[in-house]
Each structure stands twice: as C-alpha cells, then as structure tokens.
C-alpha cells in the first residue's frame, strides 16, 4: 500500500493507532493550537505534541452554545468536538493568543472544562522586535514550568537539544519533500501534502520522521499523480485543514506546488539549530520564521516570501485562503491582492467556512480564475 493512502487515513481522523501506542507506552499527548507553540518544548517534557484540528467534526451545535455566529468556524467546530469528547485522550492543551477567536477558545474551554487535562495559554507577542523576543522567551520559560508541574518531567537543556534535533530533522525532511514539488510534474499534489502534514502533526515525531522518509522514497521513485498540470498554484492564508477543499482547488488541471499556511511552510521553514542556549534558539526560530498575519510588523516579509516562493516554484497564480470572520486575513488579503498584482502575479481571494460546503460557488470562482489566468498566458 502506498504510504500516501496511509497518510490520508491518518489525516481524516482526530485519533489514531500511533497515539494509542504512545499512550500505552505511558507517553501523555498534549494538544497545541498554533505554530507559535514550540512542539520541541512539549516533546522535551516527555509528551507527544498533537496539533489541534477539527477533522471529523459533525457540526457546531454544541460549539455554538459558547460562540456566536460571528466567530470563526474553526473554533466553533473544535469546541464542538471538545464538548463531544473527541479530545479526551489529551493530557493537556497549550492554547495561544493567535487571534481573538483562539484567545476566547481558551477561556471557553476552561469554562466548559472537558476532560482534556490542563489548559495553558501561551501569550505570544505580536511583533518580532528585541523587546518582544525577550517577552516570548519568558513565556516559554513559563510554559516549561507548567509542563513540569503537570507532567512531572523537567525540561533540561539536554532533553530540549535532543527534541530540537529530532524536530529539525522532521523539518529538513519536510523541506526536502516540499522541494520536490518544484518539478514540472510534482510527485506530490497539494492535497497529498496537506494530508501528510495533518498526519505527521498527529503522531509522535519519531513515527512522523519514518512516515516522511517513506513518502520521500516513494516520491523520488518518480510518481506523478497529477500528470503535467496546466496551472501551478501557490496557496497562502491561515487555517486550512480540509482535504476536500484543496481537492477543489486542484480540480480543473491545477496543482498546488507550494504554500505559506500553518500546516505547511510555517511548520517546517527554518531550523532551530544546535548553537547556544536551546531555549533562546527556540524563541528566535519561532519569531523569525515565515510569520502568520497575526504578526504586525512583518507584512513586507510575508509578501516577499510569497513572491519568492511563487518564482522558485514556478507558480502561475496565488490563492489567498480565508476563513469567514478572520479579521486578520481580511486585511492581509487586501494587501496581498494589491502587492501581488504589482508583481504581476494573479491572485484570487477565497472566503470559506471550515467544512462549510458552498462547493458550487467556490468551483465557479476557482474555474473562472483559472480561465482568467489561462487567458493571460
């Protein structure tokens, strides 16, 4: 069986055999909400970091008892899942003030108090200045203390270095696999890559590394699932975890070749490295990598990253993904649309709800956009 089918299976369920095995081996699983929560730190505290997701969610009826219709569908669905017990396998969750919705997810979670262990809020500053870096570093210390209290494992420098090495390895492998998508016939589609990212952020990193190696092997052997695509697409935005949505984007002969989303470049861009104090190195890496639109002083950096990646991966166009009610992406998409136009790169802003349907509308929009891009070339 192709490893990609296994990855897909892992991507489509909130829980899996790897996590069950880890639990049997006595390793707690700790959820994390954002790419600004360093997985290394959680891992060094003896836990399996688990990227929180709404996969398998059936609706928002219970989530809506906490959130209003003006809150984003990600938090509403995750809350719903949490209230239905989908995350009861967790020993704790590290929340993060990614946005107002996420900030309140923490509050509501604590209020509802489902059986998911401890809840900790990691406050991450909104800029990358030296003052903010220092503040973030202190927040990481605080997180290490919480993990020690809750899990009983002291995060020593040695443990942290080992974890960093493991995660750097995972990052390198992911970058290598992503790099293969530069080929005229990418060996991995965007959907497959997203499935892989969902899978490897839901299993112990030791297993993740093995899975990625198998995927690399298969990819190098010369598979080309999409054939020669007519259009190469770069996807940017924030929360994106629906395989069905990327399948839609990859219909009509297009293939996603690169991205700057949470479950993508933001996860594997830039290593931590083994020099200096590991905690300092960790703080630096997480504030310096491809930023999320929540970071205020780095619009230029994000635009530059997008434009460079579009050139490097020979992408024809950019799709800007936004979840309804994400104020940050509303601003970001406006700026990105204009900046990309200046650079001569066509872009399309898509607004959707997580697992929200409206397929007919999206399809028309996407197809018309591809036709427009086709007309230009």
């Amino acid at each position: 069986m192709s490893v990609f089918s296994e990855l897909r299976r892992l991507a489509e369920a909130p829980h899996n055999d790897y996590l069950a095995a880890a639990a049997r081996a006595g390793r707690p699983v700790v959820g994390a909400f954002c790419t600004y929560v360093p997985e290394e730190l959680v891992h060094a505290a003896g836990a399996v970091p688990y990227r929180m997701r709404a996969v398998g969610s059936s609706g928002t009826a219970l989530g809506d008892t906490y959130f209003s219709s003006a809150n984003c569908s990600f938090v509403r669905r995750v809350m719903d899942q949490g209230l239905r017990g989908a995350f009861d396998f967790l020993a704790g969750i590290v929340f993060m003030n990614g946005c107002d919705h996420n900030r309140r997810l923490f509050d509501n979670w604590r209020h509802a108090n489902p059986a998911t262990g401890f809840s900790h809020m990691l406050f991450v500053p909104h800029a990358g200045s030296p003052a903010c870096l220092a503040q973030y570093r202190l927040e990481l210390d605080k997180l290490a203390r919480v993990l020690r209290e809750r899990l009983g494992v002291e995060v020593t420098d040695d443990r942290l270095r080992a974890s960093i090495a493991l995660y750097d390895r995972r990052r390198r492998l992911l970058r290598e696999l992503a790099g293969l998508r530069r080929a005229p016939e990418p060996p991995v589609t965007g959907t497959e890559f997203l499935a892989l990212m969902l899978a490897v952020t839901a299993v112990p990193p030791e297993d993740a590394v093995e899975l990625i190696e198998r995927a690399l092997e298969e990819a190098r052997a010369g598979r080309a699932p999409a054939g020669t695509p007519k259009l190469r697409i770069f996807v940017t935005g924030s929360c994106l975890e629906e395989l069905s949505h990327l399948e839609l984007v990859e219909s009509h002969g297009a293939v996603v070749v690169a991205d700057a989303v949470c479950l993508g470049a933001r996860t594997f861009d830039r290593d931590v490295g083994d020099a200096g104090d590991p905690m300092d190195a960790l703080a630096r890496r997480y504030l310096a990598r491809v930023s999320c639109p929540r970071m205020m002083d780095d619009v230029k950096g994000r635009m530059a990253y997008t434009i460079d990646a579009v050139r490097a991966y020979a992408a024809d166009a950019v799709i800007l993904e936004k979840l309804e009610f994400c104020s940050m992406m509303s601003g970001e998409n406006y700026i990105a649309g204009h900046e990309l136009a200046k650079a001569g790169i066509p872009s399309l802003a898509l607004t959707r709800e997580l697992y929200g349907g409206e397929v007919g509308q999206l399809k028309t929009r996407i197809q018309a956009f591809y036709e427009k891009v086709g007309n230009r070339s």
Partner: protein
Amino acid sequence: MLVQDGFRQIGDVPASDDGLREPMELKPFEIIENVVAGAKLGTKVLDKGPAAWALLRAVQPLLFHREHRLNRAARFGYQKVGSGRWTPGELAAYRQDCIATVSFFQRVLDARDGREPLVWLGWPVPVEVASGFDDVAPFVPEAFMAIANMVGTDGHVACLEAVEREGIADDICAMDRVSLGAYLLKQIPEPAAIISVAHPCDAGRTASQLMEYLTGAPAYTINTAYTKEDDDVMAYSKNLFEAIAFLEDTLHRKYNWDKFRRGVRVLDEQNRYLDEITIMNQAVPSAGLAFNLQTAWGSKITGSGNPALLESARLTHKVGRFRLRHPGIRRRVEKFRIIVADMPIVFSEMYMWIERTFGGVVVGDYIGDAIFPPIDMSSLETMMMGVARDRLYMGMIKQAHGAARETVDDLERQIAHFSPDCVIQNGHQGCKHNRALGRIVRDVCRRHDLPLLVMEADIFDKRVMSETDVKRELTAFFREQGFAS
C-alpha cells in the same frame, strides 16, 4: 476604485433630478468641518445657561424620537448635549468638552493645511505620545466613529460602503471600518507617521495594518500589555518611550517633556473626578451620569491632558454631588437599573430614550465606568507607566485585552457596585472576543439572578440593526422581564 479616470465622461451620467436618493456624497473634510462648526456653536449656546437649557427642552419633540430628512444633522449634536435631558449644570460641563473638541479638530484641519505634521494614533495608544510635541497634531482615526453622525447616521454607512467598495471584507469591526472609510472618502488628512497597536483586538490591529499600507506612512507598532501586571505594564511603557523616540527621528522634532508632565498632572486630576463620578453613579438612586462619562471617554481618547477636560470633569462632579445631596430636587424616576456590559448601545441617545420611556437608568457600561489607578509623579518612567496603565483601565481596553477573566472580573465588580436589575449586551458584530463570551457572561448573570439581553447590533452599522430594531428588542426585553407593561 469604482471607475477608471475619465470614465464618467464616457459613461454618460444620467441626471439625478428625479428625486432619487443617490449614495451619499461627502465633500472632503465635510464631517470634521461640521464638527468644528457644531462644537463652536455649542461653546457659544451652552454659555447661555438656563436659556440654553430651555431651548434644548423646547426642541425635544423635533429631534428626540427618530431621524428623518429634516433633523438628520442636527439630531446628532442634540444627542451629544443630552437630548434635552441634561440639566444646566451638565450643559455647562459639556461646554468644556466642546472647547476641547474644537481645539482637537481645528488642529487637524490646520495640519491638513500644512501647518504641522499629523500623527495617527491607534485609539488604544496614549495620545500623550504625540501631544507632548509642541508642533505635532495628534489624530485618532477611530475618533471619527464618534463624530461621523454629524451628517446623519448615513455618514457611517457612507464610510462603511466606501470600504466595501474598496474590496475590504466586512467582518472587521465597524468602528475601524468607519475610520478606514473616512480616509478613503478624504474625510481625514494624510498622516506623517502612524503609531499602531497590536492589542487589544484583531480588528484594531488589522485596521492599523491597512492604514499603514494605504497611507504608506512610516509606522511603529506598540505591543500593548496583555495583563495589568507590573511586568507587562513596564514593557508597554517601554514601547511608549520607543514610540516617542521613533516620532522624534521621523519628524525631526524634539519632544517637550515639560508639556508631557503638565498633561499627566491634568490627566491624573481628571481621573480623580471621574473615579468619584463613577462612585456617585453607584449610589441608589444613581447620580445618572453614565452618559456624561461616555462623553468623557471620547474626549479623553483624543484630548487626554487637556485642561478643558479637567474642568468638564470638575463641573460634572459638581452636578453629581448636588444630586446626591438634594435627592428631593431631582425628580428623575429610577424604576430599574441597567448595566450595559459592552459598548454603549448602538445609538448614543438610547440611554436617554430608555430613561424617558421606561424609567430605567443605565448606571454603568464599559465606558461609563471609569476607575483609574493614581499616577506616580516621581519620575518620567513612573509617569509613563501611569499613562500606560491609564489606557489599560480605560473602557473597552480594560475588558478586551488578555483573558476573559478581565471581562468577568469587571462585570462582577460592576454588579457588586452598581446594584443593577438587568444586564444588556449589544454584542457588536466585529468584536470577535466579546461575541465569544456569550456563555460566560450569561453564567455570571445567572449566578446573580440578573436577566440578560444579548442583542446582535453593530455599533455603527445601522444596516445590521436599525434604531427601530434596537428599540423594539429593548422594549420586548423590558416587557418580558416585567420592567415595563
């Protein structure tokens, strides 16, 4: 970007003499000019004491109940001076706010004419950052939301529609979109520099980012504190020093620290009055000054440190003291007491309407509850921390930053101090964090056995919920709870 240049000639614009209402067209700076004119008029008229009071009472039927074509512009000014409900004492206090308003907006107009550079400050940024310069005009774009009604409530809609036409999504808070729209409609002058904020809400930070992008002005971002703890406030105040240094470099001007000191003293003194006014509102029956505190909040955002505001607070304080000492003279009824656990209800005169129609008194809201810690004047550093803390204790910022605990603690405290009979939350659309607190706030109210009304209004977008709808919903709630028959 609706049409390309020169397109209108080709397009053959049809004549509009058939009485059709066209999308509102605003002349550049029309709103600010109206505000300055209105405030100047206010300064003159309110000087007349009881005569002004009698006049305002007399015109109440024309301006109070609803907006129509004839009273569109005048109605807003009328609401600002208390919709004919304010006593001569309150009017005298508001006259001082008019003076502050004139000085603030006149300066903005002067800056437009090139007299001095204009600096935009996100509303959670202490205005001291710019007002301490001798020759820099501070401007808070969000202040625009408070004055856009100067041409009728369509003024807000005109700004919002401009933003929608520009292709900016409508899920950002209407307050921020109004200020963006005002810029697009050339209602506010170009900035020489921008000081942005990263917290307390996403909408504010997004709007700042868009403004930086649209104007291309040099910008510095302040990472507002998450908590009110000393470490965080210290980090925040360091940001403020850096922001001042940034402005000195960018504008090639020196900051006047003496002016800063003077301003902070005035601010601290004003805060003492505001504290006491808040406490007077807590009395039963209440001194009924929540709306006055709202005015003070708006004035403070733009003109913190202005001596006129201190005078305004002193006069308001005097009114409160008089009312508490002579409860018999005040014939106001107080059938029930309301806390608005949010921004004031959509249309600013709603408090007056509730009081007049149902005898319910809004005793406190996020803004009309102003308790500030004293400022330590011993050094520049402590003063800057005081200024930073002052902002953190200001309505909206106080509740919006950090964890839900900030909101809950505040609500608990208000319930304990103001002895309310019910709580209203108008739940403005763009306020993601507040809209996510429904259950938590509900549980607080349930614990205190207080009826809670959650509306789905928007602070300034009457297309989400019109004044009529808001009144309808309030009426239904008061009836359901037996406050009104």
